[in-house]
């Protein structure tokens, strides 16, 4: 029963061990993923609506306010 999972794990372990160029590529991938998910996501690119509002209802209300009381460049408050 355990033979198949063991074979699969062994396949991946041997594959990773025998990599040459792949090791460099994996290092690049890991550094990139850390930059993307840790640095960029956490510190620079938060999800605006998720961080500002707690519920979907609040988010909907905010977007509704934006699209009905729009301050577009050169525009004016359509509904005061």
């Amino acid at each position: 029963m355990l033979l198949m999972p063991r074979k699969i794990v062994g396949f991946y372990v041997n594959g990773f061990r025998s990599m040459t160029l792949g090791k460099t590529l994996w290092k690049i991938i890991l550094i990139k993923l850390i930059i993307i998910f840790v640095v960029i996501r956490l510190f620079f690119m938060p999800d605006y609506l998720n961080t500002r509002f707690k519920t979907d209802s609040e988010r909907a209300q905010h977007v509704m306010n934006v699209i009905t009381r729009v301050h577009v460049p050169g525009g004016k408050n359509l509904i005061p």
């Binding site: 396949f11 991946y12 041997n14 594959g15 990773f16 025998s18 040459t20 160029l21 792949g22 460099t24 590529l25 994996w26 690049i28 991938i29 990139k32 993923l33 930059i35 993307i36 960029i40 996501r41 620079f44 690119m45 938060p46 999800d47 605006y48 609506l49 998720n50 979907d56 988010r59 909907a60 209300q61 977007v63 509704m64 934006v66 699209i67 009905t68 009381r69 729009v70 301050h71 577009v72 460049p73 050169g74 525009g75 359509l78 509904i79």
Partner: protein
């Protein structure tokens, strides 16, 4: 001041999105094209059993792996940008694309984690047949993983199969199949993926040409050229066919984009197609200046391509801005009036809901529904704002088409000369072969410029302009992340080129 800040914010957010998308698009088309070429090479190896085809397959697979590894996850940054810079847009379309994109991501991940591993670790460890099957699955999976993002893009260009829910301020999917099989989505997917096949073929021809110029790995280079030029030629012809279809859907669904990339200011019957031209940079909507400093037209062809009907009327930018009642074309000026009614009724609906006045809410909603097709125009101040940047759209389109035509010739000549075993002595042609990859990238990126700049000012065609789709955040933070991405992408690009060149230098003997 407020006005300038808003525009500056939108422009920086757009610049950041363009930078990320164009960087992402360096890797994606190569993945799409090279994955199938690896599958073709390996199929020949399995069929013939000849060792040189195995060596050749492993070499191109290695370059495919480098491209995949450097490019992987760069697209995720685009999703972050949606949430940070384009939160209104992101909220409004979340119901339509959130789930399919998430499912696609998971399927692609598991498909790639399984078959990618077999493709790279499985040589001599699994049977030839299963290895080949895995390579094909990677090719098919990679191409399918482009499906939903292109369908999403198609929907933004032609929003269909949805309804706006004013209680949630969201577009909600009404008909999955209408979204998936909308004519814009179909032409977007077929045109984009086939252009990736074309670029992958150019990559193989470029590297192989370099080997032939250096007198190295000549047999492998010639074998690679034959397969790549057949695949490239078929792809290039298909790209032309799907491009024609894309232009037709533009004419029907986004006539302003068609008018911009053709530099057509005044609508015409029996309109000619501009084969070559230099635009007059001083031309503005509504004036009587000549649109071109110089032009070569093919008479009547634009009418045929745009409407599938010779002699038919093709609206120009001025018709679409100011209207042309004789031809039944409503102008942006009238659409703006209707759009403002839609916004006012939406606001009235909201207010009535808050007051608990159901009768007033129902009345406002009915009126909103009458005008909702023009909603986005209500956010524009002048009809001229509905015109995209004409110059960049026009030149990008014509560069793309001219290069696409050149690629057909390149693939054909490379195929014929290689089959006749006369390719080695053709130094000038081989230099063009090396250069063709860079031309391919220019054409490929130009295609996206046409699609995206040509649909301005819309985030969602006719419904949501970019000025409303944006988040109201500090422009400084968008500038900071723009330069951060610029540095990150430049480093990654240098890494890719460096590793790729090193592997090409080593050649098929390397590991």
């Amino acid at each position: 001041m407020l006005e300038q800040t808003g525009l500056e914010l939108v422009n920086w957010a757009r610049a950041q999105f363009a930078l990320t998308a164009m960087f992402h698009w360096i890797f994606v088309p190569l993945t799409l094209g090279l994955s199938f070429l690896c599958a073709f090479f390996e199929s020949i190896y399995v069929k013939t059993g000849k060792e040189e085809w195995r060596r050749l397959t492993r070499f191109w697979m290695r370059l495919f792996g480098i491209n995949f590894a450097i490019g992987v996850a760069t697209g995720i940054i685009l999703e972050f940008e949606f949430g940070t810079n384009w939160s209104n847009y992101s909220w409004m379309v979340g119901d339509i694309f959130g789930a399919p994109l998430a499912i696609e991501g998971l399927v692609a991940f598991f498909l790639e984690a399984t078959f990618f591993a077999v493709m790279f670790f499985g040589w001599d460890r699994v049977s030839k047949g299963f290895h080949l099957f895995s390579t094909w699955m990677v090719a098919i999976g990679s191409n399918l993983s482009a499906l939903w993002i292109l369908v999403a893009n198609g929907w933004m260009q032609f929003p269909t199969g949805m309804a706006f829910n004013p209680d949630k301020a969201r577009f909600e999917m009404q008909n999955f199949w209408d979204v998936l099989f909308s004519p814009v989505a179909v032409s977007k997917f077929t045109h984009t993926t086939s252009s990736g096949f074309l670029l992958g073929s150019l990559f193989v021809i470029s590297v192989s040409s370099w080997y032939l110029l250096k007198g190295r790995h000549k047999d492998m280079a010639k074998k690679s050229i034959v397969v790549a030029s057949v695949f490239g030629l078929l792809s290039a012809l298909f790209v032309g066919f799907t491009g024609d279809e894309a232009a037709y859907t533009d004419a029907q669904k986004q006539p302003m984009k068609l008018a911009a990339f053709e530099g057509l200011w005044k609508g015409q019957e029996n309109a000619g197609l501009v084969a070559l031209g230099v635009l007059n940079p001083d031309k503005r909507p509504g004036d009587d200046k000549d649109p071109f400093i110089f032009e070569i037209r093919v008479p009547g062809l634009l009418s045929l391509l745009a409407n599938r009907s010779p002699g038919s009327f093709v609206p120009g930018i001025d018709d679409l801005v100011y209207g042309n009642s004789a031809q039944g074309v409503m102008g942006a000026d009238e659409k703006i009036k209707r759009g403002k009614v839609a916004i006012q009724q939406l606001a009235a609906y909201k207010k009535a809901q808050q007051l608990g006045d159901q009768v007033a809410a129902e009345t406002a909603l009915q009126k909103f529904n009458d005008y909702k097709a023009y909603l986005g125009f209500g956010y524009l101040d002048s009809p001229e704002q509905a015109v995209p940047p004409v110059g960049i759209t026009f030149y990008s389109f014509h560069a793309m088409v001219a290069l696409g035509t050149l690629f057909i010739l390149i693939f054909f000549i490379f195929l014929v000369l290689t089959m006749k075993d006369r390719i080695e002595g053709q130094r000038a042609l081989l230099l063009l072969g090396v250069l063709s990859l860079f031309l391919g990238f220019i054409a490929s990126e130009a295609g996206w410029v046409v699609a995206e700049v040509g649909r301005q000012p819309w985030a969602i065609q006719d419904l949501l302009p970019v000025t409303v789709a944006r988040t109201d955040i500090n422009v400084g933070s968008v500038k900071t992340t723009f330069f951060m991405f610029l540095v990150t992408f430049t480093v990654l690009f240098i890494a890719e080129v460096g590793i790729m060149l090193k592997q090409i230098q080593i050649g098929p003997e390397g590991k």
